[in-house]
Amino acid sequence: MLIFSVFKTLTDQRVTVELKNDLCISGVLKSVDQFLNIRLDGIQVMDEERHPHMTAVKNCFIRGSVVRYVLLPAEAVDTQLLEDATRREAASQAKR
């Protein structure tokens, strides 16, 4: 649930999503849901010559289960705060 909240704070940031089929798509994060499905606007596929499949696609919905990485802009994330929050969440789950 914590990571869902983190993604919600990152809406309207430009991110790059790497999928489990090795496709990399960058775009503006428009929304995220509880499954970490992602909506991207103004997308651009890295290595467009090799993957012309999506040249006419400008916005897309990516299923959360196929995402390998999301590359975030470093300045949009408070690393210290995130570290504290993840440790707090992990500690509270260990207690249960």
């Binding site: 489990k20 089929n21 496709l23 849901d33």
Partner: protein, 95 residues
């Protein structure tokens, strides 16, 4: 919420887990992201020849097979002559 509502009645491109690409008009969807496409066609990519379009008609795609749903810009899509596009098919998903 990352909803599919904005795609209903729009021409969309679906990329599936096995690497297939299907275009069609989204007729409906549900909370498990199962999708119904009308007037759908599969686009088969290869390096040897241009893109081949195979008509499929009305299709129901199970949500767990879907990788990506993209809204097609109709004007941009029509401007591309598919028979001149040579590309590797997209790789399948590997967990």
């Amino acid at each position: 919420m990352a909803s599919l509502q904005g795609y209903v009645d729009h021409r969309v491109l679906l990329i599936l887990q096995d690497g297939r690409a299907i275009v069609g008009v989204m007729a409906g969807y549900d909370q498990k992201s199962n999708v119904v496409l009308s007037d759908s066609k599969e686009r088969v990519y290869s390096m040897e020849e241009g893109v081949e379009e195979i008509p499929l008609g009305l299709y129901l795609v199970k949500g767990d097979q879907i990788v990506l749903i993209g809204e097609l810009d109709e004007a941009m899509d029509q401007a591309v002559d598919l028979s001149t596009v040579h590309a590797e098919p997209l790789p399948p998903i590997r967990y």
